[in-house]
């Protein structure tokens, strides 16, 4: 049941109609337009199209929950069935944002319950979600089908139990990498015995007691996606899972257990081993059975040898993420190096997404990698020691990222690391014309670096910077830019409160928020978060968030 649009008189907007299509036809025509970018374009054509678009839109994507209010959203889009909301700045994942900062879903849910009773899908990222909110959700939307919580906090397995209990039509439950209070218990068993609709169940991160009979029943009905906590119990289930496409959550993978997976792997396209400390030989044996792999997440325990096996066995690989098993251990001498990276690039020419944590890298290796794989859209390299130069030449890593931006013309997302001067940012500004997201830490020499990026990257949407020598001149050089961006984050840089106030004054449609650290003097703006908003300053800001 969707809201009915009231017929408007042809002269209501004071202009003659461009076409004679009835509104309903235009809406039908626009219905299949799915991408929110396309829809935004459609809505700008003319008033008729704006209206047709807003009535026909069923999914809304809100990249920053504070850029718009729930009231504005529900007023503009009456027929929404699916909502994606993102909350906190990304650096909150790394403890740079104090708790209770905000991004609470509750106000949104309350309004949705009234305006979108037919809501079916909710996908949240970096939002605060309480158990009460989950219960409210479960009880308020009888058609609710899909819940995805990524990197959220504030809830416990009790909230999940409420979902399992009350959402009779649930098809997808995706709970990943959240800060959950895992009370274990049997939240899973809150799903009714006769539950058959669930297709996607991803709770890899929980230590919940798993009723394996129940899980096996679920699995046997899965056609496509599966994750599970203790796969060792599911041997028989796996034998029946020929259609498995994704597999993750393998905590306890041991050499004995992995062969159990082999029969299920031939159609695997996504394998998430990032919680399983595999050795290179185990990975190699497993990958021999996964010729169709497109996406692979591993721990660096597999080392370079393991990555060589990736290059040899997975020619279709498009995405690789290598996480550090022991990121804080200063004495570790294991992990992956530049040679593993290069090995993958020789074997996997279609690679376009990489997240790579390492302890050493060279400019030459990165240049080779992008020469082999020029189609990178996402290049996130984390050399784990700040300011670390090319370990062979002792030079800054400028040329590495220069090679990336020069060669990978489709680059959308870049994270830089290592010892970097302003030259890196000159390169980025000059060449990265499709860059949308840039993450910078412990890099740069002066304001000039940041200015190069702000001046040079026309598609920049998100810029997050920490611990760099960029100051007021850099911040203010972006005055004209920030409204075209989603957000800017600068922490532990050289920005002052006065500059932030100036920015706020000059740009009333930006929210300029500062969080100060204890023990810092009054003039410094320790953490700055700038974002465009049509709903004005936050009304729910906690005391430690200063809105300028």
């Amino acid at each position: 049941m969707s809201s009915k649009r009231k017929k408007e008189s042809p002269e209501s907007d004071g202009s003659t109609r461009a076409s004679n299509f009835p509104d309903e036809v235009l809406e039908r025509v626009l219905g299949p337009v799915k991408s929110h970018k396309d829809r935004s374009s459609v809505s700008l054509v003319c008033k008729d199209w704006y209206n047709a678009e807003r009535w026909s839109r069923t999914h809304v994507f809100i990249g920053n929950c504070y850029s718009v209010s729930p009231e504005i959203v529900t007023r503009r889009f009456p027929n929404i069935r699916s909502v994606t909301l993102k909350g906190k700045p990304r650096f909150s994942d790394f403890n740079l944002v104090p708790p209770n900062w905000g991004a609470d879903i509750q106000n949104w849910l309350v309004l949705f319950a009234t305006k979108y009773p037919c809501l079916e899908e909710l996908r949240l990222k970096r939002m605060t979600v309480t158990d009460e909110s989950l219960e409210f959700l479960a009880l308020s939307f009888p058609n609710f089908k899909a819940l995805s919580l990524l990197s959220c906090d504030g809830f416990s397995t009790d909230g999940l139990a409420a979902i399992a209990t009350h959402c009779k039509n649930l098809v997808e439950l995706d709970i990943q990498e959240n800060d959950i209070d895992d009370k274990s218990g049997g939240w899973l068993s809150c799903f009714p015995e006769t539950f058959t609709s669930l297709e996607i169940l991803n709770f890899a991160n929980l230590n919940s007691d798993v009723n394996f009979d129940f899980l096996e029943r679920l699995i046997s009905t899965f056609s496509q996606d599966l994750t599970a906590n203790q796969c060792s119990e599911l041997e028989s289930a796996f034998n029946n899972c020929k259609n498995l496409r994704t597999l993750s959550g393998l905590w306890e993978a041991t050499a004995l257990f992995l062969p159990v997976l082999y029969p299920a792997c031939s159609n695997l396209t996504f394998l998430n081993l990032s919680y399983a400390a595999l050795q290179s030989s185990e990975l190699a044996k497993l990958l021999a059975h996964c010729p169709n792999l497109r996406r692979l997440w591993v721990l660096d325990t597999v080392e370079d040898k393991g990555l060589e096996a990736v290059g040899l066995n997975c020619p279709l690989l498009e995405e690789l993420r290598v996480f550090p098993a022991d990121p804080f251990d200063n004495e570790i001498i294991h992990g992956v190096t530049e040679s593993g990276f290069v090995a993958v690039s020789y074997g996997c020419r279609r690679l376009h997404y990489v997240l790579y944590f390492c302890r050493q890298m060279t400019n030459a290796a990165v240049a080779t990698v992008v020469q082999n794989c020029p189609d990178f859209t996402h290049f996130r390299l984390c050399i784990m020691t700040p300011h670390q130069p090319d370990y062979l030449t002792d030079e800054p890593m400028d040329e590495a990222f220069g090679a990336v931006v020069k060669t990978c013309t489709k680059l959308q997302r870049l994270a830089v690391s290592g010892l970097l001067t302003d030259l890196t940012f000159e390169y980025i500004g000059k060449y990265a014309k499709n860059l949308e997201t840039l993450s910078v830490a412990f890099a740069g020499s002066s304001d000039w670096g940041m200015r190069c990026v702000l001046d040079g990257c026309p598609k920049l949407r998100k810029l997050e910077i920490r611990d760099c020598p960029f100051g007021n001149a850099a911040l203010l050089s972006g005055l004209g830019k920030y409204e075209s961006m989603r957000s800017l984050w600068m922490s532990a840089c050289k920005v002052t409160m006065n500059a932030c106030r100036l920015l706020a004054r000059q740009m009333p449609r930006l929210n300029v928020e500062v969080m100060k650290d204890e023990e810092s003097d009054d003039s410094q703006a320790d953490k700055v978060y700038v974002y465009r908003s049509v709903s004005g300053p936050r009304r729910d800001a906690p005391p430690f968030v200063l809105t300028l």
Partner: protein, 320 residues
């Protein structure tokens, strides 16, 4: 392009190219630097010499290395003061190995007397990562401390060397969830390295109040005696035992009981976490059994170990 000015740890290039201490420090203080480094440093010193408002000329040896580490603003006051408190309390109990042992260790790793490190102990309330040494108390040796004759500036910390590394909040950028998961499901390499045939059995050792974890290879220790010498080498500068305990002050010929004697009645006890995640006193079981069940070691302050009996079921959460 010219090489950048040397950066301090958090990426600020100092306007003064040379890293001479006095020049820079006075520049810092004269400009009333917002970094307010002094107030946020933790310093290792004799009791009473640890006041945050230290004088410029007390700059320690580390500055000779030109490795001025800046200080993150989110520095702690709380969590890692414990370290200097421990030293404070142990005023009379400082044991320097005097001769080669601990110096060699120092010389090798430079760990214990690194230049001023960022104290990143201030954890925002919320997820505690059990396995992560959160903060690194500054271990700058002031001149007043009786120290080994080996000059500290021989250790040359490089930016890229792990020796001088301290922990920074939120770095490397890994989600708390993932950090916590790895903590509760430690990578196999720790425990099962033996099964993998690599021939080492590295066990993490933490000492209450010490700034970093160390690792000891149980395979290279054949007995509790070897273990205690190894630990003493690693942590000797913080003291494992006081030589004033009844009996000979000599540390030669340590036996199991001697280790226990040393620990007994001193500031610290040696405990380990077994495969059932229970914390036990070291020394109760035969060595072979110990190596099979020990997951990690902790040199715990005696005051915290009260009630920790052999085979006790009390769980001691790692303070990391």
């Amino acid at each position: 392009m010219s090489m950048p000015l040397e950066h301090d740890y958090i990426g600020f290039s100092e306007s003064v190219p040379s890293m001479e201490i006095s020049g820079r420090s006075s520049e810092r203080s004269s400009t009333g630097s917002r970094l307010n480094l002094k107030a946020t440093e933790l310093r290792l010193g004799l009791p009473g010499s640890e006041s945050p408002e230290r004088d410029e000329d007390d700059c320690g040896v580390e500055d000779k290395n030109g490795f001025q580490l800046g200080v993150l603003k989110c520095l702690v006051s709380g969590a890692k003061r414990g370290f200097s408190d421990a030293i404070d309390g142990a005023a009379g109990k400082w044991v320097y190995s005097g001769s080669g042992g601990s110096e060699t260790e120092l010389g090798k790793s430079g760990n214990l007397f690194s230049p001023r490190a960022i104290n990143a102990g201030k954890t925002l309330a919320g997820s505690e990562c059990n396995n992560q040494p959160k903060g690194v108390a500054v271990a700058t040796v002031e001149d007043g401390i009786p120290q080994s004759p080996k000059p500290l500036h021989e250790k040359k910390p490089q930016v890229s060397a792990p020796a001088a590394k301290a922990q920074v909040v939120g770095w490397p950028p890994i989600r708390s969830f993932r950090k916590n998961s790895m903590a509760s499901h430690p990578p196999k390499t720790d425990d099962d390295a033996e099964k993998m045939g690599s021939g080492c059995l590295y066990i993490k050792v933490s000492m209450d109040g010490a700034p970093y974890l160390r690792k000891v290879d149980l395979k290279t220790c054949g007995s509790y005696m070897d273990l205690s010498s190894a630990l003493e080498k690693m942590f000797g500068c913080f003291t494992i035992g006081q030589c004033g305990s009844p009996g000979a002050p000599s540390r030669d010929g340590l036996s199991e009981s001697r280790l226990m004697d040393l620990l007994h009645g001193s500031e610290y006890v040696l405990t380990y976490e077994d495969k059932d995640c229970d914390w036990m006193l070291v020394g109760d079981v035969p060595w072979e059994m110990f190596t099979e069940t020990c997951r990690r070691l902790r040199i715990m302050k005696s005051s915290e170990a009260i009630g920790l009996a052999p085979r006790a079921m009390e769980k001691c959460k790692s303070r990391n």
